[in-house]
């Protein structure tokens, strides 16, 4: 047993988990309104590329002006770009599915393809602007985001485990907790859940179904966009590669929603567990065996196996509270008869 590699494993799991926790929390909020947004991977792509572009142009401008980029401005620009781009993706989805009542599955998948296309196109352009493939780097922004709490991270293994991350890792946990409180305790949360369960009932109770669907989808997508931001500034440390990893993470976020049975608090440990499972192939040494390269991909599917296991379990137990929102994926039209 090697304690250092165990810590390393947990650290990488937390970084991995943070990306999908954003995506998962955003999707939980969206799905609670009855909107099944399969465009989460695309939304994360949009958030990622928008923050990269924003930070890149700001840093470029600073370099040309000969001044040091301001850390707070770096954070602010990237953050706003990621959230805004994500929310914009949500707006497209809401308009198509809620206003025009297009099929949610098709719209979501299209949004994923759209997001990936946009992101990879501009990713390539940005790389070209920066001087060639793999040349883009937003080092100042990435560093600002990865700033850890002084002193605390020096506290040995404990510090490494809990305090070696940038503020976005903690923000994800805070968002998950706040969302749990919002959904469970607040009046608006109750109304939102009613919209997802039974929009006709919510409508008859005087709740503006369209407003709730739009807002929860746009904010949810904004949060998912932050997952893209975290991916760019921390996971890849401020670079861009057209390798489709964001999409993999996006689908894992959607799977995680099912794993958590639509409860944000479960997303906290669930996302870290997914991280542990995903990286397991690198750390099988801890269990006394190593994998050949050809066997590694099999271990990468462990998170999906876990999701399937949860699906089977909740289906057998049939507990009403663990089921998806009853109206998930269905359009609502008041005068339908």
């Amino acid at each position: 047993m090697n304690i250092d590699s165990l810590i390393q494993w947990i650290q990488s799991a937390i970084i991995f988990g943070t990306v999908i926790m954003y995506g998962c929390c955003g999707e939980i909020l969206t799905e609670k309104s009855g909107n099944l947004n399969l465009g989460i991977p695309g939304t994360m792509y949009l958030g990622g590329i928008a923050s990269l572009a924003g930070a890149f142009f700001y840093e470029n401008a600073c370099t040309q002006a000969g001044i040091e980029p301001n850390a707070i401005l770096c954070i602010l620009i990237a953050f706003v770009c990621a959230f805004g781009a994500g929310a914009l993706g949500g707006l497209i989805f809401s308009f198509l599915t809620t206003t025009l009542r297009a099929n949610q599955n098709v719209t979501g998948l299209t949004l994923t393809i759209f997001g990936a296309g946009i992101a990879n196109f501009f990713g390539g352009s940005l790389n070209k602007l920066a001087g060639g493939v793999g040349q883009i780097s937003i080092s100042s922004t990435s560093e600002a985001f990865r700033t850890t709490v002084p002193f605390l991270d020096k506290m040995g293994s404990f510090g490494k485990l809990f305090f070696s991350y940038g503020f976005l890792a903690y923000l994800a946990v805070i968002i998950a907790i706040l969302m749990a409180i919002f959904l469970k305790r607040s009046r608006a949360g109750l109304n939102l859940r009613a919209v997802g369960e039974n929009p006709a009932t919510a409508d008859a109770a005087g709740i503006n179904v369209t407003k709730y669907k739009y807002l929860s989808t746009c904010i949810g997508c904004g949060i998912a966009g932050l997952g893209g931001l975290y991916y760019v500034v921390d996971f890849t440390k401020g670079t861009w590669a057209n390798d489709g990893t964001i999409e993999t993470l996006g689908w894992l976020a959607v799977a995680l929603v099912i794993f958590t049975t639509w409860k944000p608090l479960n997303a906290i440990w669930g996302s870290y567990l997914f991280g542990m499972l995903y990286w397991m192939y690198l750390y099988t040494g801890l269990f006394g065996f190593t994998l050949t390269r050809s066997f590694q991909p099999i271990f990468k599917m462990l998170p999906y196996l876990a999701t399937m296991f949860v699906l089977i379990l909740t289906s057998i137990r049939k507990k009403k509270e663990n089921q998806p929102p009853a109206n998930l994926g269905l359009p609502y039209f008041r005068e339908e008869r």
């Binding site: 859940r193 008859a204 109770a205 005087g206 008041r334």
Partner: protein, 526 residues
């Protein structure tokens, strides 16, 4: 004592596409009074009340609240006018507790913590004698509890005008009594109550005044004390001139389909058909009358083999079909066509062409790996020509045809396979007069070919002139099987509401209703 007006409707009209659901309706709802809204199914009662609760918006006409003109554009507007509606299909979120359901939405008026809300719910329950646990989840509640919760909900939000859409449809007799006590309490408290129903005895028992609708039109309002079941039935069903539908006389044959002691449960697990006996002979049309939801759908599905039966026998020419698969039953020559409310729900695949729908039941007989469309196309053309289906081509998706044409295609397909028993439910639902008569002609054509027909209908006039015999269902029980020539609309109406039961009064030692003298079952065939 004259009561002040709560809501007044003037010439309110609402159409859905080409269907007029409400036409020039005038209504006066007063405080301290219970008003019954009476009418057959599809007469527009629910549509009218949905306009008051903000679900639909009227196309024309005016609505006054306390003699001031108002516009109700959304459910929220209705709440602001203190209108509370208890829908036929409960508007409750299953996974929420009672309290959560009550406080849902409408935050504009009050903001209370869940605890305070629960306390107030208990208060209301004590006041009116309700039995609701504020912390109970809705999915654990019985139907009657859910309905009570709906009433608590509207009272909690201070409703002054309560509209109940067929509240007794799902209740037992005792639960109904309890509900009526509550409604009387509310009347004493000065609230305006509107109860939508088509049960005459309840109307006479509970209401002060009765307003009657027929086919979306306003017929009139009468004081309950001046009304009788008969006078109300007349207004509800209308004294329209009897339609001239041919009823060819065909020589009676042996019973084709015999139903003995049949019991069926509905989707909710309640008894839908209760110990029913009847038989159909060749060359005979047996009508089934009854208020919607009296087990007609379950009966059709059971005969077609789509629904499990709880007990009893279904004998087709001496052979038990109750354990057969739908395909085997079809092969026996029993065909079923059911036209549900949305008219496309059962029997046809809306996105497929007429040709494809023609071969839907028979394609599996083909020997080739590929589907034989040629025959289907010929059949489609034949039906289009014979029945006068208006369509651009045989390849047009059925969903794009108008209602009447869809029904012709469905019936045409059922007939082309040469069945000996046709089960048809609401075949003229929503059709104009000409298409309706075409359908009657088709059925009579089949009758002359010695086919036994079970005709589940809505319009008593039509059934009286088309059918040979009429069986009346009320809450899944047979109220009687009468000869169409020896009965009247009034008698049928009274049987439909359960006011008279001929099965009990006419049963004698040697002739039990619904059991044929020359039955296959008595001969000991299995």
């Amino acid at each position: 004592m004259e009561h002040s007006s709560a809501i007044r409707l003037e010439n309110v009209t609402k159409t859905f596409g080409s269907v007029v659901a409400n036409k020039d309706i005038c209504l006066d709802i007063r405080y301290g009074e219970i008003l019954s809204l009476l009418g057959e199914n599809g007469s527009g009662k629910t549509t009218l009340m949905n306009m008051l609760s903000g679900i639909y918006f009227p196309d024309a006409g005016k609505i006054y609240a306390k003699d001031k003109e108002v516009s109700i554009r959304s459910p929220k507007d209705a709440y602001d006018l203190n209108i509370g509606m208890i829908h036929q299909h409960f508007k409750l979120v299953d996974i929420f507790t009672a309290t959560e359901n009550v406080v849902l939405g409408r935050s504009a008026k009050k903001k209370e913590s869940l605890k305070a809300a629960a306390a107030r719910i208990r208060e209301i329950c004590d006041q009116y004698g309700f039995d609701v646990d504020p912390d109970q989840k809705v999915y654990n509640m019985s139907v009657s509890q859910k309905q009570t919760l709906e009433i608590v909900k509207v009272l909690y939000h201070g409703a002054e005008i309560l509209i109940l859409d067929e509240p007794t449809a799902v209740l037992t007799l005792q639960e109904t009594e309890k509900l009526f006590k509550v409604l009387r309490n509310m009347r004493e408290a000065g609230k305006a109550v509107v109860i939508i129903t088509h049960k005459l005895n309840e109307v006479l028992e509970i209401s002060d005044r009765v307003s009657i609708l027929r086919r979306g039109e306003y017929i009139g309002t009468v004081e309950t004390k001046d009304a009788t079941e008969l006078s109300l039935t007349e207004m509800m069903v209308g004294k329209k001139v009897s339609l001239d539908i041919a009823r060819p006389q065909v020589e009676k044959k042996k019973p084709l389909l015999e139903i003995r002691d049949l019991s069926i449960k509905n989707d909710e697990g309640h008894i839908a058909i209760d110990n029913v006996n009847f038989y159909i002979r060749g060359g005979e049309i047996l009508g089934v009358a009854g208020i919607a939801g009296c087990g007609q759908k379950e009966l059709c599905e059971a005969i077609a083999g789509l629904r499990k039966i709880e007990g009893g026998k279904m004998i087709h020419q001496g052979e038990d079909i109750s354990t057969m698969t739908p395909k085997q039953i079809l092969a026996k020559g029993i065909s079923m066509s059911f036209i549900p409310e949305d008219r496309l729900g059962m029997g046809l695949a809306p996105s497929l062409s007429i040709t494809d729908n023609m071969i839907l039941k028979t394609y599996s007989e083909g020997k080739s790996f590929f589907v034989d469309r040629k025959r289907g196309r010929q059949e489609a053309e034949k039906i289009i020509n014979d029945l006068g289906v208006v369509t651009p081509s045989t390849e047009t998706p059925v969903r794009r045809l108008s209602g009447g044409n869809v029904q012709k295609v469905l019936l045409g397909r059922e007939i082309k396979s040469g069945p000996n028993v046709i089960i048809t439910a609401y075949p003229v639902r929503g059709l104009d007069i000409n298409s309706s008569y075409l359908i009657y002609d088709i059925l009579n054509e089949q009758k002359k070919k010695d086919v036994g027909i079970l005709f589940i209908g809505e319009d008593l006039d039509v059934m009286l002139s088309l059918c040979d015999k009429i069986m009346v269902l009320c809450h899944g029980k047979v109220m009687g099987i009468v000869n169409a020539e020896n009965t009247s609309k009034e008698e049928l109406g009274l049987m439909m509401t359960g006011a008279i039961n001929l099965t009990e009064s006419r049963a004698t030692e040697d002739k039990k209703p619904g059991i044929a003298k020359d039955s296959y079952i008595e001969e000991g065939t299995k």
